[in-house]
């Protein structure tokens, strides 16, 4: 593979002049410069898929908003990270996440430690702008330590990526399409019967919501060790 030469590029984010390397994304450069862009499916160290669209930004000259986590930087581009248009778009995206599944915080194990919950507080989402389309999915509690509850999943695919890229097992993947999409183990088998799952628990640690959680732990004791994975990746390289 021929490697492209890495060049330094300068551009503007919210009117501030910043520089970054040509292989960096808008999000990475923004983080380096202390500019906050809300994210959801993004996790430092994992590949970026842009599945949640929470990090959308406006680029001058482009008609539609672009996810900052997958967009590479270009010389002279002008990025706007927050505007009334972007704000409504983000609220809409979050609304749609809520409408797809039954996210009832009061009965959730990660109540208070949920990224979806904190994101809606951050974006001041008071009510859902879209009708609820959620259906009931079966909960897979066959595994001795962990539970998979598709009713709380936002399909960020962090668990799939961590299983594939870090653990190297690729025991999880997405099943189906549209509203019926959910995370499965192997051939849609119960978690306990999965032959490729190593029971490492990384998927549970990175899950932003309560879709994957540890068994026999009360709500107060649930601590998602999301940082662990990022630390692990940093130490690895």
């Amino acid at each position: 593979m021929i490697r492209e030469k890495v060049r330094v590029k300068s551009f503007k984010i919210d009117g501030i002049c910043v520089t970054g390397q040509s292989n960096q994304t808008i999000l990475e450069v923004a983080h380096d410069n202390g500019i906050e862009i809300p994210t959801m499916c993004y996790m430092e160290g994992l590949s970026c898929v842009g599945s949640c669209r929470m990090c959308i930004v406006e680029i001058k000259g482009s008609h539609e908003p672009i996810p900052a986590c997958t967009a590479k930087i270009k010389e002279g581009m002008e990025v706007t990270t927050s505007s009334p248009y972007i704000k409504t778009a983000r609220e809409m995206i979050l609304s749609m996440m809520f409408s797809e599944r039954s996210h009832t915080c009061s009965t959730c194990v990660v109540n208070g430690d949920c990224e979806l919950q904190s994101k809606s507080v951050e974006l001041e989402l008071e009510h859902s702008a879209t009708p609820y389309l959620n259906q009931r999915f079966e909960i897979d509690a066959s595994h001795k330590n962990f539970v998979n509850d598709p009713n709380r999943c936002i399909l960020c695919t962090r668990c799939i990526r961590v299983c594939d890229e870090i653990e190297g097992a690729h025991a999880l993947d997405l099943f189906g399409r549209g509203l019926n999409t959910r995370v499965i183990h192997d051939m849609d088998e119960p978690w306990a019967d999965s032959t490729s799952c190593t029971s490492c628990g990384k998927c549970v640690y990175v899950c932003p919501t309560g879709a994957l959680y540890e068994k026999d732990i009360s709500e107060e004791d649930v601590i998602k060790k999301r940082k662990i994975i990022t630390e692990l990746i940093k130490n690895k390289s």
Binding site: H170, A171, L172, D173, R177, H185, D186, M187, S196
Partner: protein, 157 residues
């Protein structure tokens, strides 16, 4: 039947060999697999996954994503109900409901005795004959809403 003696697996093996056991040829392989077996069974998918050195979940994910792939065997007969604009106006929704009730299956499903698969389509291009259903390879024109299975029911066994 074991994979070694089943001729269909040999055929599949040949297809994969031709494609060089490339991981990115998965969709192509699944296409051929469905051509050979008629559907994608779990054992067949596991076989494909092992040969292409892909994870089970990846293969299953791809197979369930595309509408074209069938995970269950097709029935001996099939009825395709057109839900295109012209047929819909002429009441094809009712026809579908009638057939669904009669056999206790939903569109896209097959009866438990594998006698009949019920499918829907978005227009056959024969709107002048609306409402249209296709029984096996035969087009039934201007189907009655009250008794859509007239003349068909006897042959479904």
């Amino acid at each position: 039947m074991s994979t070694a003696t089943d001729d269909r697996y040999n055929k599949l093996e040949k297809v994969m060999k031709k494609l060089g056991y490339e991981k990115n040829s998965l969709i192509e392989v699944l296409h051929s697999t469905q051509g050979i077996f008629g559907y994608l069974g779990v054992d067949t998918l596991k076989f494909v996954a092992k040969r292409l050195k892909l994870s089970y979940s990846k293969v299953y994910g791809v197979a369930t994503f595309y509408n074209y792939f069938r995970l269950k065997p097709k029935g001996r007969h099939n009825i395709v109900v057109c839900l295109g604009t012209a047929c819909y106006i002429k009441g094809s929704e009712k026809i579908l409901q009638k057939i669904e009730q009669r056999y206790g299956i939903k569109a896209g499903e097959t009866t438990s005795d594998e006698a009949l698969s019920l499918l829907t389509a978005r227009c056959f291009g024969s709107c002048s004959l609306a409402p249209v259903i296709v029984f096996d390879e035969e087009i039934k024109a201007k189907v009655s809403l009250e008794n859509p299975l007239c003349g068909i029911e006897e042959s479904i066994k």
